[in-house]
């Protein structure tokens, strides 16, 4: 079976731009993996999201080199309406994608467009509202709910289409800490319970790192780093150069490594960091 995402020698330059937004990207993502994408603003992260769901080259003018394949087929070769069933994108500003007068209509809209039967729509609606805990809000207008709730509606609307790849572009950048945690709780459950491929673009690493199987760093339009999450954070010099700061637990153990005081695996969660620190202290 071909990989779910296969990008080869891919360069994209927006019309009238002096430099490419993405350059020489080679990336293969296996189905079912959870991938974190980080990098400074302007490094090409959103362009990558647009390239996966066909907005590029479909809706934008520019110059493309190389290929972007989803499940073995180039994005340009999908018939209209087919690619959204393969790749769904959730943006940081959910209001930009709302069209309906109630949360329920918002969730049903995409499914109706897919031509699903009413029983199928009911079943999926039940599933996504349970997963995202939106049941009490179904009758509400999307513009009357909080920012965190809006983001869960946007996520649910895309999930209801059951795309094989979900791309979330800074889904929590406008949210407060509790709403942010609830969005990541949904992603954690999705990772456990589904076989979706999940690609999350984020600046906020503390929630992302414990879930990510693998991390990608975009810097100056290029893929500066791509590795399993633990190996990724060992390369602190490359990360620092790109202005990426690992979560405190990782940064602490990396600093201990530099002092020659630690040599094991970097802890990716707070619990792991506490356990490792207790282990280190009890050896003395």
């Amino acid at each position: 079976m071909p990989p779910i995402v296969e990008i080869q020698n891919y360069t994209w330059r927006y019309l009238h731009a002096d430099v490419p937004a993405l350059q020489d990207i080679n990336l293969t993502i296996e189905e079912g993996s959870f991938v974190g994408v980080i990098g400074p603003n302007g490094s090409g992260k959103t362009t990558l999201a647009y390239s996966l769901n066909g907005l590029i080259p479909g809706q934008y003018q520019g110059i493309k080199e190389g290929t972007v394949k989803i499940a073995g087929t180039e994005v340009e070769s999908y018939r209209p309406g087919e690619l959204p069933q393969m790749v769904g994108v959730v943006f940081s500003d959910p209001e930009a994608q709302f069209t309906a007068m109630t949360v329920e209509d918002e969730l049903v809209f995409g499914m109706e467009n897919l031509g699903l039967s009413i029983p199928e729509i009911r079943e999926r609606l039940e599933w996504v509202t349970d997963l995202t805990q939106l049941k009490p809000l179904l009758e509400k207008p999307p513009y009357e709910i909080s920012g965190g709730q809006k983001q869960r509606v946007a996520l649910a609307a895309v999930l209801a289409m059951m795309p094989r790849v979900m791309v979330l572009d800074e889904p929590t950048s406008m949210l407060d800490p509790m709403s942010r945690k609830r969005v990541f709780d949904v992603l954690a459950r999705l990772k456990r319970e589904s076989h979706n491929t999940i690609i999350v673009i984020e600046h906020n690493l503390e929630n992302l790192v414990p879930l990510a199987d693998r991390m990608i760093l975009l810097h100056n339009s290029r893929m500066a780093l791509s590795d399993g999450t633990e190996a990724f954070f060992r390369q602190v010099d490359t990360l620092t150069e790109a202005g990426v700061y690992p979560p405190g637990g990782i940064a602490f153990f990396h600093a201990l490594m530099k002092h020659g005081a630690f040599a094991g695996e970097l802890p990716l969660t707070l619990d792991a960091a506490v356990a490792r620190l207790e282990g280190l202290m009890s050896h003395e």
Binding site: P40, N41, G147, D176, P247, G248, F252
Partner: protein, 281 residues
């Protein structure tokens, strides 16, 4: 003023605020802010942070109790007097910028308080220079600037009014880390070199740990905790009510306190030094 103690620059006493529809947003707030402070106002959305900010600059008047700024009661002080004392920078600079070029944007405030033309010019040039804008930028349309630059224009337009205290609502939201640090280092310089009181309203706890000396934690319209940053982060019961978690490095130190680590740790370097000291013993 006969007190031997200098009065606080901003003094909030038993202040409550209700919106016109009757919703009570703030309940019985007591807060004193002195000259030279660098404060972070934290709490969930809806906890009252922004409402409190707008009470501090006189945009909202207390429903009961009082807010005294530089000796003036905000209820009886004109907005022209207030904007010279407390400036408020919106979270989204686009909610604040409306002029066709950078110069007019920064000059709007000084003109509006009817300063003479040469004073307006001097204030704009000074404010622009402080935020790192040059005369090349004066004719730019704010719409064509980057978000970071638009935020600088927004801050410059507040600085041109020369307020003593500057409140910045979510300075780092939507910014990447280098941009966040640039804005925060800039606010730090305003604080250190120009002596401004800086109040940031934020959800970004690593930023709080790094820059703020004092934290005011809000929840349900009340102040739940108020004190030095490390102490508020260590006040676990109060913090739990705000649903805010300290930075991961602080949580690690707190959970390793039984091993001899300081639960008031704020940085990776501090924790490394503690580890090495414990190790040497």
């Amino acid at each position: 003023m006969n007190d031997t103690q200098p009065a606080a620059y901003i003094s909030v006493q038993h202040m409550s605020y209700s919106y016109p529809d009757g919703t009570q947003a703030l309940r019985d707030i007591d807060l004193k802010i002195d000259r030279g402070e660098f404060i972070a106002l934290i709490g969930q959305n809806g906890s009252g942070k922004t409402t409190l900010s707008k009470c501090l600059n006189g945009l909202y008047k207390p429903s009961s109790g009082e807010v005294i700024v530089d000796g003036l009661d905000t209820r009886s002080t004109s907005i022209v007097q207030m904007v010279r004392r407390v400036g408020y920078v919106f979270q989204n600079p686009d909610h604040q910028l409306f002029s066709a070029n950078v110069w007019d944007e920064i000059a709007y405030g000084p003109r509006n308080i009817q300063l003479p033309a040469d004073e307006v010019r001097a204030r704009v040039e000074e404010a622009a220079a402080i935020v790192g804008l040059t005369s090349d930028d004066y004719e730019e349309h704010p719409f064509f600037l980057t978000k970071g630059m638009r935020q600088r224009v927004a801050i410059a337009s507040i600085l041109a009014l020369q307020p003593h205290a500057i409140i910045v609502d979510e300075p780092t939201t939507g910014q990447d880390i280098p941009q966040s640090l640039e804005i925060m280092n800039f606010l730090q310089r305003l604080h250190d070199e120009q002596g401004h009181i800086i109040i940031i309203v934020t959800h970004d706890m690593p930023i709080v740990a790094r820059y703020a000396k004092r934290v005011v934690a809000m929840g349900q319209g009340q102040v739940l905790a108020d004190g030095p940053t490390a102490e508020v982060f260590a006040n676990t019961p109060a913090l739990a009510q705000t649903f805010v978690e300290p930075p991961q490095i602080t949580q690690l130190a707190q959970r390793a306190a039984h091993l001899g680590f300081d639960p008031r740790t704020l940085s990776v370097d501090e924790l490394v030094q503690q580890y090495l000291a414990l190790h040497d013993r």
